[in-house]
Amino acid sequence: MAEKVKTIYGPCALVYCSTKTGTWRIVRPQIDGEKCVLCGICEKYCPTGVVNTIKMKTEDKKKAEGRVEIDMTYCKGCGICANVCPHDSITMIDEREA
């Protein structure tokens, strides 16, 4: 395909590498599945809206089953989920050790 180079004057960004906010992260949340009760409080507090609590129906209604998914492309590692978790089931771990 033929292309033409166009010049733009003034301040603007045409490459959006920084908009994937996951690249900002230095610590990441790690969830302890034994402690987590799938209450969904972390999902409600996440400022980026990247936490997704998936619950599944089970025969025994007293026991929750499912998982918590976090979209690491956009999770900035702010740690709010770890702070609000009532069961201390989220630990922020160093990206270099992840």
Binding site: I8, Y9, G10, P11
Partner: protein, 400 residues
């Protein structure tokens, strides 16, 4: 082309209507308010197909104009005095984003003291924000210069926003028979607006006005400088094209009786008419004086200005504002710089006149011409037509 009785504010609004502005965001301020009002009427009754966005301040008025213009429409706003001061931050944004917004500025003094009336301190304070500045002498100039400004500012080699400055009350509220061109003629002169540089388009996104590090900042400033370097020839061409289309001639500087003049007064705006009247009276007495009117203060027409001054002529500058702490007013400082830059050694007498709405009376102009003709020069700027009791205006008695 029909002739209509218009005040300067209405002449500006007519030009904006004829330029088919698509978004209006104006905040009223004396003496600009009639522009905001008449644009609202035009939008309301359908004479102008535009969206009128009500804003709570001049800062927002310019912000809205910037956002709208980025989507590819001409936008309309106008202001005065402290309104222009409140817009200051966004003036730089419009200039840096290279948005060719054309804004009538109705010149009014800046605080303090409070004044509703004319001088040039407001636009002079905004001199270095990266806007072109054209100064109108009469109401016809207001309409013509607005149309010329759109044409020049929107040129792809320029892309610099432009203030069309008119003296508050002296022009903004003065009726004059003004030729108003037909929509068809203006459409031929001003094709539909296109965003030639930055644009907001959901289908082709770009992130504008982001933080720029020291590694690129100077280069972007230099881009603006280049736009201004291109502006003067483009402005000249736009004025010639305007003359072809509408039959009225304009020029970045307008010399009057300068060819053989022994004394020349340089002026901006409406006071130029008074200076020309005094030139006629002096010429009738055989005294060779002239007037050099600067229409385009930014870009500053340095070469043309110096070329218009005959060798040996004594030159004074009438500033309608003062650059406190500087040797003289802003126009005089620039004229001195231009004279020096062109390799001439001429002393330029600085004068300050007509602040805060004071008329530039014949007595001010004659005292300036007489000083020049007598060869008097004072390195200090001369404040003309002032009361003798300037330093004792307010006094009270205090017990010892």
């Amino acid at each position: 082309m029909k002739k209509v009785m218009l005040e300067g504010n209405f002449a500006a609004a007519e030009a904006m209507r004829l330029a088919r502005i698509g978004v209006v965001s104006a905040y009223p301020i004396t003496p600009q308010s009639p522009i905001a009002e008449v644009l609202s009427e035009y939008t309301g009754d359908g004479r102008l197909d535009a969206k009128y966005i009500r804003v709570e301040s001049e800062h927002t008025a310019m912000s809205v104009a910037i956002g709208a213009q980025l989507t590819g429409v001409r936008t309309g706003t106008a202001t005065s005095s402290v309104g222009l001061a409140l817009m200051f931050e966004m003036l730089g944004v419009a200039a840096g984003l290279r948005l060719p917004i054309v804004m009538p500025v109705v010149n009014r003094a800046l605080v303090s003291p409070w004044s509703l009336w004319c001088d040039h301190q407001d636009s002079m304070a905004a001199r270095d924000t990266g806007w072109m500045q054209l100064y109108a002498e009469d109401c016809q100039d207001v309409l013509d210069l607005c149309l010329i400004a759109y044409r020049a500012a929107e040129n792809g080699d320029v892309l610099v926003p432009t203030m069309v400055c008119m003296d508050g009350f002296f022009l903004s509220h003065m009726s004059q028979a003004v030729y108003v061109p037909s929509q068809q003629d203006v459409d031929d002169f001003l094709p539909p607006y296109q965003a030639k540089n930055l644009k907001l388009d959901i289908a082709d996104p770009m992130f504008v006005n982001n933080l720029i590090p020291p590694t690129e900042f100077m280069e972007m400033r230099y881009q603006q400088h280049t736009g201004f370097s291109n502006a003067l020839p483009v402005l000249n061409t736009a004025m010639k094209e305007f003359e072809t289309q509408f039959g009225r001639s304009h020029s970045p500087i307008e010399p009057y009786c300068c060819d053989d003049a022994e004394a020349i007064l340089i002026s901006l705006g409406s006071m130029s008419g008074s200076v020309k009247e005094m030139v006629d009276q002096y010429r009738a007495q055989g005294k060779k004086v002239g007037n050099l009117k600067i229409v385009s203060f930014r870009p500053f027409p340095e070469e043309d200005l110096v070329a218009a001054i005959p060798r040996g002529a004594r030159v004074g500058v009438l500033d309608r504002s003062m650059s406190m702490g500087a040797p003289a007013g802003p126009v005089c400082n620039d004229v001195r710089s231009a004279i020096s830059n062109q390799g001439l050694n001429v002393r330029i007498q600085g004068f300050v006149v007509g602040l805060g709405g004071r008329d530039v009376r014949p007595v001010a102009i004659t005292s300036a011409f007489d000083r020049l003709l007598a060869g008097q020069y004072d390195k200090d700027v001369q404040w003309l037509d002032m009361s003798d009791n300037a330093m004792t205006l307010r006094q009270y008695r205090e017990a010892i």
